[in-house]
Symmetry: C2
Subunit: 291 residues, 2 copies
DNA sequence: CTGTTAGCGCTTTCAC
DNA sequence: GTGAAAGCGCTAACAG
């Protein structure tokens, strides 16, 4: 081959801005490099962390993030249908609080409820609750109440970790401090406050920071100062927004989660997932920070 | 054709879960239905609103949202490169605060600075500032300060609307109340507060709610109550989070924006954009709400 | 080492 | 009416 013609081709490539068509490549390779991400969590503000971490990791592996939102099983299945016709190599479903019963080869369930499938990544809520209680007990809070909405699906796990921490600290278990099946967290809080003289609770575990921010003003309205009288602990993340004081929380590393997911997607061996539970980090408020 | 064989085929389709391969279809039609969305805003929490509205509208038109994040011109161009090799029919760049100089046929710039291209949708900041000032003046606030970070790129527009409102209300313009080129909004605020006895300002326009939540505690630290002493107004959206009191704001309808974008994408005529500026709604805090 | 060919899964066209 | 064939843009495997 003449060097001249080689250069001529390269020059033409340059000048005509030739870009090999990835669709034609995909047709042959039977893989598009697209990963569908179906966000099913009810609080869409929580998706940002997931998406940012996921996109960062996916693009590093030449993969594309195809985003969908879905709020019910029907919507998830519909989205799944549209994405698995050759468009996406794999699909993630994130944060579904309704049972899905999906056990497809190429679908990974992340932080979903009612998971029987092995293709899933779950947060270790038992570990979170245990850490939370141990922290609170070390802070001198021995009467820890728990308010967890019915829908969270991590009820048993949270209770497990809660009891484990109490046992390890030789503390008695009081059923009246636990509100796991309440439809409204506000009602649960009212019951707690109405019985506060006998219950005498000084710490409160809630499902997430959003919940905490709803509950804290209610506590204050009943002359309970936070965290002096009642220390409120979020079992899933803090918001880190200006104007909102930090509360102690368990925070799950979105980066760690994304790394695991991408490892699974690229290696396609179940062992890549390692354990399929992810443990969160304990975040304690900066005492020197804002009041 | 025999009816029996027709049914046999349909039955086989059903049983084998046959799904026509969209990639093969794309190769022929030269269109994938994928719309690349490059989020370039520094505050990733702002992306959620865009993404949710966009995905909703796109999926209604059988289009897919391919998400990327980019924080610099280099990253945006790199993402653009990867998406325009046949994968995406069109690409949106959202919220870039750095000049891009892109005027590609299939790229729409949304809420980006320094836009010369006609393929863009901008927020009407002049209109926002004018509405804000008119509202504040009607609330009895005639000394309106403005703090706007340099990077926002809407400086002239905001000043335009500000002056227009003042003129229409026969109020004098005071240059000392305007901080448009300050690197730090905190420094600008300090200058304002140091001169507060002579300036006597009773309202403050800030770029967005995030900024407002940074500034409000600083005002309170100087014994300025909000909104009694100083009414803080956000020129771009409010957060609507529990635990954060609502402040008056201009809020842009993500739904309206998404609808316009999808109209442009589907009709592919510039007229579909209508005007390429989008005006925001005035949001006033619910006085009956939290303190 | 270079050049040709077949075929990825589909749709459109053209011939029967 | 139904059925065969061409071709979308690319890369594999093959033949020269």
């Amino acid at each position: 081959m003449k060097e001249a013609s080689r250069l001529a081709v390269l020059k033409a490539v340059e000048e005509l801005h030739y870009r090999p068509n990835v669709i034609a490549q995909s047709l042959l390779s039977q893989s598009t490099g697209c990963i569908g991400v179906i966000c099913a969590q009810d609080n869409i503000n929580q998706t940002t962390g997931y998406l940012y971490a996921l996109e960062k990791h996916l693009s590093q592996h030449q993969k594309h993030l195809l985003l969908r939102f879905a709020n019910s099983k029907t919507e998830v299945l519909h989205a799944l249908d549209e994405l698995t016709c050759g468009l996406c190599d794999d699909v993630l479903v994130i944060g579904a609080r309704f049972p899905l019963n999906i056990s497809h080869e190429n679908v990974i369930l992340v932080d979903c409820v009612d998971v029987d499938s092995s293709n899933s990544i779950q947060f270790d809520h038992a570990f979170a609750a245990e850490t939370a209680c141990n922290y609170l007990i070390k802070q001198g809070r021995r009467q820890i109440a728990v308010i967890n909405p019915d829908s969270c699906g991590s009820v048993e796990q949270i209770l497990l970790g809660y009891k484990r921490a109490l046992e390890n600290n030789f503390l008695p278990f009081n059923r009246n401090l636990i509100f796991m099946d309440s439809t409204s967290s506000s009602v649960a809080l009212q019951v707690l406050l109405n019985n506060s003289t006998t219950l005498n609770f000084n710490a409160l575990l809630v499902a997430d920071e959003q919940e905490a921010q709803r509950i804290i003003p209610q506590l204050q309205a009943f002359n309970k100062s936070v965290p002096q009288d009642i220390m409120v602990f979020s079992l899933a993340g803090s918001l880190h927004l200006p104007g909102i004081p930090t509360i102690p929380a368990i925070e799950y590393s979105m980066d760690a989660m994304a790394a695991r997911i991408v490892a699974w997607l690229t290696e396609k061996t179940k062992s890549a997932l390692g354990s399929n539970v992810l443990r969160g980090d304990l975040i304690i408020p900066d005492m020197a920070g804002r009041k």
